[in-house]
Symmetry: C2
Subunit: 188 residues, 2 copies
């Protein structure tokens, strides 16, 4: 248990005792999903937040024309769910789908609230993770406002080179908000 | 002290005793800034997070061509700073400027960390605020990816009607990522 990847992940921010990690870990459940299976589906209530042990996922929105817009990718050590639905107890507006076969841990909304209330350390851990996520989203917005497609592409490639080996080009284009044709030009 | 707007703001999420609020409030300092004065300037270290008592501000980025991109507006009860610079102790990449004469409270990085560590309640308060901010940014990204300018304009108008009375059209256009000409067409 001492070397569980979730413990390493939490301890990047907050040191834990063996007892503390065992207690925290007791609130998580392991699940497996195959490629193309979903974890969250539009219109459903969302009671789980997922942590990726292994695999690659996307959270995406389908517009009225059926066009897919990718809000987030998630790989090993990332957290993913429909945060608005999970946090505000409303129906999902996005879907979370597996791009690869995935092994995940999930925690329920009630257990996340319980752990956060009982353990200041876990409140702090999630607060710090959320803050880092907030900063990343601000940077993405700024990039969407000011950077041409080529710069957005290069930034993503530099930040997450692995993503380009694991995710179809079509999805990268959707994440960047460019057409597939534009993306093809950027790859050359 | 019981009816201080900061107390009301915190108590929307976490109830406080008189003693707790007095202790928290002791870590804040009041400042006044005139229209066009800045709170955070690009290239400086950022040691303060601001809470708006009265007034209207913007956080913005100037690109190499000198074009302004607006990351965030802030009005009464909003928190604002350069979060990447404040959180990661690096130089500011954005500026925070007053659009109106402003009354603000600020807390230093050290005091914010201290309050969060000492008081689980404040950790929780800021964690919840950050989570709500995270969700709002995700929605803005989705809107930038999928919505035409007209829809982005209408959503902002519906969500923050006051903003349109307090902020020049040029800035609204910059926030929405549209040209001023496009925005003028949307107003009619």
């Amino acid at each position: 248990m001492n070397s569980h990847p979730l413990r390493q992940h939490i301890e990047e921010i907050i040191p834990l005792t063996d007892e503390e990690f065992a207690y925290i870990f007791g609130h998580f459940t392991t699940i497996y999903r195959r490629r193309h299976q979903y974890l969250v589906q539009e219109g459903e209530l969302v009671n789980k937040e997922f942590w990726v042990v292994k695999g690659c996922l996307k959270s995406c929105f389908f517009d009225k024309e059926g066009k897919e817009h990718i809000l987030q990718f998630a790989m090993e050590n990332w957290w993913v769910t429909d945060y608005e639905a999970f946090n505000n107890r409303v129906e999902a507006t996005v879907s979370v789908d597996c791009i690869e076969d995935c092994e995940l841990l999930y925690i329920s909304y009630e257990d996340r609230e319980k752990l956060s209330s009982e353990m200041h350390k876990m409140e702090r851990f999630w607060a710090k993770k959320t803050k880092l996520g907030y900063i990343a989203l601000q940077n993405r917005i700024l990039s969407l406002l000011k950077d041409p497609a080529k710069v957005r592409f290069e930034k993503l490639l530099k930040q997450y080179p692995l993503l380009f080996q694991r995710v179809p080009k079509k999805m990268i284009a959707s994440y960047l908000g460019v057409s597939r044709e534009t993306l093809s030009r950027l790859y050359t």
